[in-house]
Symmetry: C2
Subunit: 338 residues, 2 copies
């Protein structure tokens, strides 16, 4: 059996997460039992939700147990199979975690999914045509439910979720305005992702200044917003919402890392009759087939060209993950393992 390397959570962060919270270990992969599949991971996905699981506090998911392999989405190739549905060479996505190999029960529904790489590169199944893409789809289609002609916004616009959101919203005839950090990301959001405008939040010292920029970019106000970040961006957006605007909340990245985060003007919920709804895409598996179908088509037709930020080798994962929390990535953050 091949030698496996894994990254486990060694200890929990006090306030800020650091590379010292993680530990790289190695061990033989165990022999396969009947019905099991051995997958070699080609790509590991790094996502903000992982930060929440590092804490030992109430959250929507159980905390990551200490000493166990960090959870994470993976895309790879079957290298050994004792399950009739999977054969060596199949390209698959699953939740293999931060490691080189995983042994998966082929019978368990949803654990391992075979994917077709004819028109969609394997890595995209961890981004635009995977969990982040479906996240954008659910927030836009099921919570914001925009009409053609409405203006919708998204924070972290250059990321995996934001990219997909932009393409999905344009396909529905919306004006789409992104918020991202830095001129390079903003250029990319407008020129490559096809957003109508993008605001560089780093140019704004507070939410009032950011809100003024939003007023220029959204002359008809904001009807829907997808929140990946929280804090100043959400405060600024709320000031520009139209009556009956909908806000889908899928991330509060600032809060993840321990810094306090409040909402400055909750009275706007009443004044503008807002609907603000949090969601976690893994609780809505019923929409995945429909969402993945649309996302795959958008990628196949070139209407969604998601950018990736790829680091090499498992040992680079902790540093890349911490960078992601600070917005250092540019596009979907992946670790390439093969």
């Amino acid at each position: 059996m091949p030698l496996n390397q894994s990254i486990v959570l060694d200890n929990r962060p006090a306030a800020h997460a650091s590379v010292d919270n993680f530990k790289l270990i190695q061990a033989d992969t165990p022999p396969l039992q009947d019905g099991q599949v051995l997958v070699q991971h080609h790509y590991l996905s790094l996502d903000p939700y992982m930060r929440g699981r590092m804490n030992d506090s109430k959250s929507y998911a159980a905390p990551q147990p200490l000493g166990e392999v960090m959870i994470g989405g993976t895309a790879g190739v079957v290298v050994e199979s004792r399950h009739p549905k999977f054969k060596v060479g199949d390209t698959v996505v699953g939740m293999g975690g931060w490691q080189l190999y995983s042994v998966v029960d082929g019978h368990a529904p949803g654990l391992l999914r075979r994917v077709d790489t004819t028109h969609v590169p394997l890595s995209h199944y961890l981004g635009a045509v995977g969990m982040p893409g479906v996240t954008a789809w659910y927030g836009l289609v099921k919570i914001i439910a925009p009409q053609a002609g409405e203006t919708v916004t998204v924070s972290a616009a250059s990321g995996a979720v934001g990219s997909a959101y932009g393409a999905l919203a344009k396909a529905r005839g919306c004006r789409v305005v992104g918020i991202a950090g830095g001129p390079d990301k903003c250029d990319y959001v407008v020129k490559r992702l096809g957003f109508d405008a993008c605001i560089d939040y780093k140019q704004h010292g507070d939410y009032l200044s950011l809100s003024k920029a939003l007023r220029e970019a959204c002359p008809n106000g904001i009807d829907g917003h997808f929140e990946n970040v929280g804090g100043m961006v959400l405060d600024a957006v709320m000031l520009r919402t139209n009556a009956f605007a909908r806000i889908a909340v899928c991330g509060m990245i600032a809060g993840y890392d321990g810094s306090p985060l409040h909402m400055t003007h909750p009275a706007l919920i009443l004044v503008n009759r807002l609907k603000i709804q949090g969601f976690i895409v893994s609780e809505h598996m019923e929409v995945w087939p429909e969402a993945l179908q649309e996302l795959g088509n958008l990628v196949g037709r070139g209407q969604l060209c998601p950018r990736e930020s790829v680091v090499q080798g498992l040992a680079a994962a902790p540093e890349a993950f911490l960078g992601l929390l600070k917005g250092k990535n540019f596009g979907k953050q992946l670790v390439q393992l093969v």
Copy 2:
């Protein structure tokens, strides 16, 4: 024609509203035109939304114009009519404003509604079987949409909206927990309104302390909440919400009066997948008939015995209104004019 007295908005509040913002004026009521009705008001309703209209800022309704009669719901009797549908002696409710008489266009749909006082006292049409009652109904039935056995909470529980909310929630098999200010109000909420428990927020110096009390009163967590107040109460409730809890926001009374008000833990929107929705009942006229029917039945059967706080005479209205903003009223705040 009888001599009318009115209270107009004389100037706008700087931060806190005061009696000096209002002015009492008098003038003859004008002769009726064809189709018009002269109503003598017996009761004037005082409601928190009026505070928002005193400001000259963006809100869900146009600001109250200076020099014009303060808007407000009224219940009274037709004393002269040049409209075939209304005759002298009819009991009616409308939006007559802070004055003794109003001249109403009998043709305009919804401006004036004849009510039956056989089983429901006239004043209740401004409270439990009027706008506050329908407000409770909309928030509970359309936004919270509780299942039997769920726990629902409400702030300002002893008020007009809270009273109706409690009866409506009990009728749906919920555990209902109120939050109110002072032992008298809490006693009343439990013993007379039939809530399962009531927490006196004045016993708690901060939201963490209030949240502990909520944990005891809501051992299974909170599935739905109706927010009339905002601030510390909302912060405390959010900490105790179950996954997929719904929060209907109909008032932010603390914020109305100029004091800053933030939401301490908006990340809970994501962690607990909350839906928080603001609404204004006058934008949902389609539900009024169904809601008024149920509320009238509850009052008629004695399942909803709303308390009223009545001051005498138009000149007492400003002081009573300011008291309402500070929670000094106990039950629906009315001004009796006849």
